[in-house]
Amino acid sequence: MTTLTETTLSPRAPLWTRLPVVHQLRQSVGLQRGMLVAGLVITGVFILTAIFAPLLAPYGYSQLRDDSGSFGAQQTPGGSHLLGTTVGGYDVLSRVIWGSQTAITVMVIAVVLSIFAGVALGLVSGYFGGWLDRVLVVICDAVYAFPALLLAIVMGIVISGGRSGLWGGIFAAAISITVVFIPQYFRVIRAETVRIKAEAYVESARVLGASNGRIMFRHVLRNATRTLPLIFTLNASEALLTLAGLGFIGFGIEPSSAAEWGYDLNKSLSDVSSGIWWTSLFPGLAIVLVVLGITLVGESLNDLADPRLRSRRAPGKTAATSVVPGGTLNAGPGGIDGLEASSPASDQHSNDDPFEAK
């Protein structure tokens, strides 16, 4: 009997097509696919640039001179300096390429720190409720009400005394961003947990006498994390903006310890009025492109996750085995009978079930 039924099990899709982004890419059509692909390409270029920065950049981020002598300040693009040099005498192209490395480090640290803290707090708060939940929600609301950049400045001063070297600066930026982001993860996971807590399968686990830990991790957490990739991408772009903002107002990383786009933009302020466009254009463009790319990915994932927003291919030829809407393997209108007795109208399910074998 089992050998007979096993043949009817449809093979599952291969693993790689079920991975988060790949799955959405295959699912998307038309403009939505265009947006997603554009976002993925920009993000991909950004990540590759960050990884291969030492190979791609013609000079070091803090290099002021080479064998032929000092670069000179504010050189026009061309020659040995493809994008010119800054007022401080750095090579713009090299600074832009190295800057991607700083940006990605801050994003990763900020998102990783906030995702763990936020998810854990949200899960506990949503699942147990009570006074702990109320206190945490109030704290998170208070953090929300704070301007993110102001908070980041305060954190930057607390952590590193304002300006610092590479890791000090990166962590100052990352932790300050973390503080701002935890409430977002907290809110989303808490809301999902509260919703899932009322689902019948959680109640069923409670009736069985499963421990709170088991219910939280086996039943609630895995179902609550669906929206995370979306916030993840949106937060990553926000992290970059906060980092650039910190650098721009002078709480960033010293040019001698790392390249940072916001800092370069700050230093190029005076150049703009004197017609030197290349020092501000390229770091600014880098910020805009990366934020755009990541946001495109995030927004596309959001649209694709919602069946009401997702566009579909126009119906062409109907699939040979038309099923009725309302579920893939729904019983035919014969109900279980339709599945089990081999009624002619639903023969594709006829040997699903050995009921009629009795």
Binding site: P315, G316, N330
Partner: protein
Amino acid sequence: MRSLPDVVRIDNLNVTFATDGGAVTAVDGVSLRVAPGEILAIVGESGSGKTVTAKTILGLLPDTAIAHGAVILSSKDGSNSNDVLAVSKQKLRQLRGADVSMVFQEPSTALNPVYTVGWQIAEGIRAHGEFSRKEARAKAIEILGRVGIPDPESRVDYYPHQFSGGQKQRVVIAMALVLDPGLIVADEPTTALDVTVQAEILDLLRRCRDEFGSAIVLITHNMGVVADLADRVVVMYEGKIVEEAPAQELFSNPQHDYTKRLLGSVPHVGQGTTRATARLEAREAHWAAAKPVVVADNLKIQYPGRLGKPGFTAVDGVSFTIRPGEVLGLVGESGSGKTTIGRAMGGLTRVTGGSLTVLGHEMNGFKERAFKKVRSDIGFVFQDPASSFNPLLTIAECVAEPLVVHGRAANPRAARRRVNELLEAVQLPRAFGDRYPHELSGGQRQRASLARGLALEPSLLIADEPTSALDVSVQSKVLELFAELQKEFGFAALFISHDLAVVDILADRIAVLYQGKLVEEGTGAEVLGAPKDAYTQRLLASLPVPDPVAQALRRDELRILRAAG
């Protein structure tokens, strides 16, 4: 009358949906017509295309649907007719409300909560012609009175939440009637309502036809409702019409196999009485003296109210017992407290007064730690098969969960042998264990749910409306399985349902709840055969039977009963 054209004529309608899995045909070559003043019922199970067909008449299909064919809609006086599929959106708006209108399933979501009902009715009137605010209001008051809302002059300014469910549905019907359309499409108009309210709404729909002369397209899966109301019946199956006949003919002499099966699986009161007596006779002599599994004594359950307000008493002084191996059917309408009692027995809701003893454990003021051991002796089957399984676990993992939690198996894989046995006990193939819940139909999921409930061989099973979300033929299979398993495993059970006929099939004894109080308790023959309480009598009389002739008689009985009570 004879000269008037059909109010709607559907010719060879095909509707295709674009889905993630490719195009799917929902309606396949359907042709039907509705004469003026006729009530046509479209029956079929979920996914048979009945709702899609009806929505096409109003041009309410979503953007992902593509329809072919013709839907010719004529106005009531027969002066003009239009093809709904071909007209412009603007013309469609004119047709809706004036020529055809709709009554929705869920009255509480069909009304906008922030406007008064009078405003909402007037909005429809003013969208179709020049009416002053005063005229529209007068019309709204008139129509509310005609659908049986008492004191319409003041009720017209009420908000939807100030009406009961049945009254809300009356308001929705008033909205549909106000422009005097030739056709009303009613999509499961009574599914969300209690049986006693359902009977009133069915009366009202009949009056819509008799007094307003509207034709009605009634979409339903309830054969009792069809028998009560319909002149002619269309049976749909996989998007096609398989049978079309006048109501009496269809019920007395069904032609198509599917129709026969559908009618055969409709539960009706009186089915289970003989079986219950047989079970009673088979019991051992000292059974009645055995220690009961569950004893409720003056049980009270109160939900806490908001600050400064008294709580809501869901269960008020209920006493009953369940003896070993006995099935107690708990019947009541929504809000009667039947689910609360089931949840209290499973330790999901706290008991606030009286005493509830489950398997020797007092539930009033229970501690989770002390109760955990008892839990392995209690099985629970939930109402909604769609949400009772963790969507990320396979069926085998879900069924193994109780075994793992209570230490009978180290992990789901070790429990697989036992899981396979259980799946076979509920007549599911072993291979289904590797599927995910969404890959199973509702009936299959509910059987897997039974398997999970029985995994620890409990001596008490609590089934909370296990079949109310299922189609009738699936329901009859699941009930049959439940009875078989009960016989085999011999567990005691609390079977909660709003449907008297369903409870009758399974229960040894039936308890009727009304507003948190137990109004009647006894064997099926006692409660259903000779009900003593007025509420039980009304409940029983309101239940439509799937037989047009018998139902017409019952309708008169109910009218007398209502006039008396």
